[in-house]
Symmetry: C2
């Protein structure tokens, strides 16, 4: 589906043969690479925004409700794929839509794109401009029907913020699932598009070329997910959610706190998954919970105020960390309200937390001052000059406030693992085309959780190979529509991996093998890296910031010492 915002036209096109076997990230990155000039201004008329559900998304494949959103990023200046788990992706797939390409720019105002089984049309969305997304989602469901899937961008995007995500509905209809990273909300708002509403009613469903292969594969994968300690019912993710990592990573000495100045504190346990699960139970929130139907892992939740009031949606590990310990804040209720503000304004939580931490170091508040952090969010809502600084992310705030301890790569802020204490993830931050991104090659799985082998997190050697293999396989998983968390199981259980590939073959009618994954992943990375190179990136952009290489992080008192040549081996083995 091609939506020309300059003309206000929606056009349906047949899927080109070249794109037939692509989905998710493989498809968004290919389309962006084929159609977006790498040297264009990300907010100018020549950028395009591409939505694509994964290959198996919308089928009975387990834990596969993922969607990729791609464009040239206003935050990094390079290609971006942001990935989100939401029923929206399943509805789109079931409506027979392989991808939506948003192009051109409306002259003024904002539109809403409504998609259903009969087609799609644009209408005026001006009434929701400047409004918080919780209220807007409520009103949109009120107007179009409670069962609608909704995605949209918020006030942060209307301010052209380089930190502005795209919100998608969770299963409660709340705007708590985010294609958060890289400022894609501003690309959406920059086209003049504010919301997409997708109606699941009567959607014909995803065509499956080989039902038997699909079914056999799917079952093998379900078995693996139900067997692995991390993904099984009652397993780590199911019981405590992603936030189970707070204690684990803090214990490892690699939980960056107080703007990346210390890697382990006693206070961290106050915001752990264990603590949070207990609170949710006391309050009558929900846990475990799915981010989209058909998930067998169920790591999500509904966080609320006491007495189950004012549901926020999920508080993920990365969000809790960024809005919490990285800002010196160790109170779950404050973190919950900060997360609500991010969801409501359309901010990526990882970037927003880092931004606040840097602003605090720059003198805007004491580290740990949660009330002030909440006030800063209101500056964004009001669109004040301070809000315009904060909405542009961590590196921007660092420059505005004269801070040199700025944890970014390619302009994107680091997630919740300090590369000085967990060096493989540092290699991923440095070398992925996405900017600092843990999901691009999650070396933490091996370094900390001993999944897919073992590796000493403090050791610099061998981390290029670890990161490379993970980056390639991740690019493929992000294309299939399977959640990245399925990787925990398939890295350790070969039959699960085979099942995953078979399910993809079932949908596409292809005969891929496990051995093809490497080549497929490599190809996607190459497409993305070529775009970045044409956009001006060189290997010198594959570096961590100076302070990570020079300032020791307690308690291990290590610096990031993976040599540049080792990092370069990720892409040039």
């Amino acid at each position: 589906m091609r939506v020309d915002m300059s003309e206000g036209n929606v056009e349906h096109q047949d899927v080109p043969e070249d794109y037939r076997t692509l989905g998710g990230r493989g498809l968004t990155s290919t389309i962006v690479s084929d159609e977006v000039p790498p040297d264009c201004h990300p907010l100018g008329p020549n950028n395009k925004l591409v939505f694509a559900p994964g290959i198996v998304t919308g089928t009975q494949a387990p834990t596969s409700g993922r969607m990729s959103v791609g464009a040239k990023s206003p935050l990094t200046g390079g290609i971006k794929e942001a990935n989100v788990g939401t029923r929206f992706s399943q509805t789109l797939a079931k409506l027979g839509i392989k991808a939506i390409i948003i192009e051109g720019q409306a002259e003024d105002g904002y539109s809403l794109l409504k998609i259903d089984k009969d087609g799609a049309e644009l209408s005026d969305a001006g009434e929701w401009s400047g409004e918080g997304l919780y209220k807007a989602y409520d009103e949109i469901r009120g107007e179009f029907g409670e069962d609608m899937d909704v995605c949209g961008c918020g006030i942060a995007a209307e301010l052209s913020g380089a930190n502005s995500g795209i919100a998608f509905n969770d299963t409660e209809g709340l705007p708590s699932r985010y294609a958060g990273r890289g400022g894609l909300g501003a690309v959406m708002a920059g086209r003049g598009l504010k919301f997409i509403v997708a109606d699941p009613e009567g959607a014909p469903g995803v065509e499956i070329e080989d039902e038997q292969a699909f079914d056999e594969g799917r079952k093998k994968l379900v078995n693996a997910l139900q067997e692995h300690d991390v993904t099984k019912p009652g397993g780590t993710l199911n019981t405590y959610g992603t936030d189970a990592l707070i204690n684990v990573i803090n214990e490892s000495g690699g939980l960056p706190q107080r703007n990346f100045s210390v890697g382990r504190t006693e206070e961290a346990s106050k915001v752990s998954g264990e603590e949070k699960a207990e609170r949710i139970e006391e309050r009558g929130g929900e846990r475990p919970h799915m981010c989209s139907p058909g998930c067998v892992i169920q790591c999500s939740e509904v966080w609320t105020k006491p007495d189950a009031k004012d549901p926020v949606g999920v508080l993920e590990y990365e969000s809790v960390w960024a809005l919490g310990p990285d800002c010196g804040i160790y109170d779950l209720d404050t973190i919950g309200e900060l997360n609500r503000a991010c969801n409501d304004l359309g901010l990526d939580t990882i970037e927003a937390g880092n931004t606040i931490a840097v602003a605090m170091e720059g003198g805007l508040a004491e580290l740990g001052d949660g009330e002030k952090a909440l006030e800063l969010m209101e500056e964004v809502r009001k669109g004040t000059p301070l809000g315009k600084i904060l909405v542009n992310g961590t590196e921007f705030a660092g420059q505005a406030f004269g801070v040199t301890r700025v944890p970014t790569v390619k302009g994107q802020a680091m997630p919740a693992y300090d590369p000085r204490a967990i060096k493989g993830i540092g290699v991923t931050y440095a070398s992925t085309p996405m900017g600092a991104d843990h999901t691009a090659g999650y070396a933490v799985a091996t370094e900390i959780m001993s999944v897919g082998g073992e590796a000493d997190p403090l050791e610099a050697k061998g981390k290029a190979e670890l990161s490379r293999n993970l980056q390639w396989s991740t690019a493929v998983i992000d294309s299939t529509g399977y959640c990245l968390f399925t990787a925990f199981a398939v890295m350790d259980i070969q039959e699960g991996l085979e099942g995953m590939v078979e399910s993809v073959n079932g949908v596409l009618g292809t005969d891929l093998t496990v051995d093809d994954i490497t080549e497929m992943g490599k190809q996607i990375l190459e497409t993305e890296r070529e775009f970045n190179e044409a956009a001006g990136f060189s290997k010198e952009d594959d570096r961590l910031p100076e302070f990570i290489r020079e300032e020791e992080l307690p308690p291990h008192n290590e610096v990031f010492d993976v040599p540049d040549e080792e990092i370069d081996k990720v892409h040039e083995p």
Copy 2:
């Protein structure tokens, strides 16, 4: 002289043999390249700030009171040389100082470095922190003596602004001569250094190896300068100053106005050099005037309010343009006050004018609202969040205010020539290692003023060669200490060029010929480009912004259409 700000030490070192024949830009770029890690944070502990007078500076050579200041730039992220005409440079040279290297970082507070014939020492400069530079310069001269030379950074630098220059005294002692471009003020403040005071008394003078060669060369150059229409007494520069260009460039259709949206207007003549000279005469200001002793061109002036009140110093063409027509402001008194504010705060006028124009397009004020522009300057003085946006320059403001028409290259704002109407200067903007900089290879001389040959400004062909030759020769002139304006004469008068080279030989005791200039300039450019490459620049950074390539500029309705391959030929012929 090496000043370690971490330790508060000043050390005098012998000039290494490799550096003996270098000066000005050749020396600052070599030292920065040798000593500054290209991947360091420009405001972190590893950047260094280097001051170097030119080779013949401090001698009787005409129009040679130039100084180079170098560092890694907070504005571009690459190497930077900013060049300024001031007696300060002559005093430094006469004191026998080849270069000052400021390194390390004071833990807190600001210092003043006092240099005289007996040595140098640091003292506390806290009393001037947060104070405007006109007042501070007054007070410093009051404290240290009226005849002192002073350089310093202002409030903009204390705010770590990527647009912060280093001010030097003019012959009245006003802070109106600037090494303005690239944010070097923030590098100075980032070391903890606020002022340098140089005492000319008893300075031994510059050693000249071959007095006769020097003297003969000097005379030939003086003759050429006094003969050429642009540089002679009563010639263009002497009569109207640099601002003589307003009418000329407006007439050519290449004077960018209202944030680069039109290249010619009827209003431009209101701020022309002709108009300005008349006003100065009426008011009892001064024109012509020298920026430093020994200048035979004398293009400077002292602009004042009516009745010769409140002298500002010079209003250069680029400043008048940036703070005037580019912001839609066509009133010399408003421009004068804006220029005073820039001088007082320590802002580069070119960057500041572009920033205001972009902020106006972003909705902060109507283009043309001079009163509002003056208010914006006060936001910088007060250090408000809005001030912190504005002090970081044009590209930063563009991002904060969601503007896509942002005239920058490598993060540095364009000077007063639109590359769509004067294409050779566009090739220089794109390909110089400095970011958009007219002085790096002033193709306008040939394209508009028919100096050094002729070239059609609207023609794309042949501009790589034109820019390349100018960039090479400029790098040499910037190293000699001669003002770039001597180039007008020596490009047309061979004997002047020979005299220039002979005067350099006289000082150094070398036997360079005119034919050596190319190789010397090429070498300097290569040093600078290697630094930038190691800092992450690629040929994709040698590009003009999208709107310059896509939006037609009236009245010629041309876009910048020099192909990328042609631009790349500047450095790879």
